[in-house]
Amino acid sequence: MQQVKGMVKVVVHVYANLAELFESKHIDISAPVATVRELINFISAAYNPQFKELLIDAKTGHVRRFHKILVNGRDIDFLNKLDTGIADGDDVSFFPPVAGG
């Protein structure tokens, strides 16, 4: 089968209150995305628009403070932030802050 140009398969993990937006906290996604920003946009359009609302500050366009986004276990804050590249087979995790104790 011919692969669609730019399509990547990634595994997305969502935790805490973000997980409540989905049926499962581990989601297999095939999407034409090249960056974390595009992945978030894709997930919001395909699954739940609240995903982006919870993660991204609409005013600044940046990830809301306190949220951690990891690509293959590495914090995108120390990579290229929302422009961090996504490749086929990547593992992307979204950790909202949790305050309970």
Partner: protein, 229 residues
């Protein structure tokens, strides 16, 4: 025999002083294991009274304690567990005005809070006083833990910024804070004894639903408003 412990290690524990800030889901098991280990002086700080919805996880508080101050309720049980431990109770809200005074002279602060605002107060006081601060937080089946050693590791403000996020009520499985608290106390005991490798510069994430641990790399922020000054 555990390497580096023995009679000498037990004496170190006896002369150690630890603050448990918040006597809830994290603070109860933390205080219990600190007392059982023989930490000589433990200061319990909590402004709240025991409520019915606390009892699934705050295991030092029982039905008969409903309405009591949490610190007092915990002190009573801990003294029955180990009468050699000096338990102090403070029924107060931790603020920037009193935090340094409350922490001063203590070797370690264990985070048992349920909100970030007070955690940031504790973080600022611990960085200022040079006291290791062992962070823990939970949600449902999930929890985080890291050991913050001022000037050496990233501080809480490096990790999360230094502002208050808006987080409402949280669901919690009773064993989640117990798991995280046991990790916090393990770190505290090793720091006191000077043994083992401490969990520094990394954020430990535990997911009890999938029964997995994950590790998040942390970095000091060169412009951190708390620890870069």
């Amino acid at each position: 025999m555990i390497r580096g412990w023995g009679r000498e290690g037990q004496a170190k524990l006896k002369s150690a002083a630890v603050v448990v800030a918040g006597i809830g889901g994290l603070g109860c098991p933390a205080a219990l294991y600190l007392s059982a280990a023989g930490v000589g002086r433990i200061r319990l700080i909590d402004r709240d009274q025991v409520e019915l919805n606390n009892l699934n996880r705050q295991i030092l508080h029982w039905e008969s304690d409903l309405g009591r101050q949490k610190a007092e309720s915990a002190k009573e049980k801990l003294e029955r567990l180990n009468s050699d431990v000096a338990i102090e109770t403070i029924d107060a809200t931790i603020t920037d005005q009193n935090a340094m005074e409350l922490m001063r002279g203590f070797d370690i602060v264990i985070d048992g809070m349920d909100n970030f605002q007070t955690r940031f107060v504790l973080n600022r006081a611990c960085v200022s006083e040079g006291i290791p601060f062992i962070f823990g937080s939970i949600y449902g089946f999930e929890g985080f833990m890291t050991t913050i050693v001022p000037r050496k590791t990233p501080c809480l403000a490096c990790i999360y910024g230094d502002v208050t996020p808006e987080i409402g009520k949280f669901p919690v499985v009773g064993t989640t804070p117990a798991t995280i608290a046991c990790l916090q106390v393990t770190e505290a005991l090793k720091l006191i004894l000077g043994i083992g490798a401490h969990y520094l510069g990394r954020l430990l994430f535990w997911d009890g639903e999938d029964m997995v641990f994950r590790e998040i790399e942390l970095q000091k922020k060169s412009d951190c408003p708390v620890c870069s000054r």
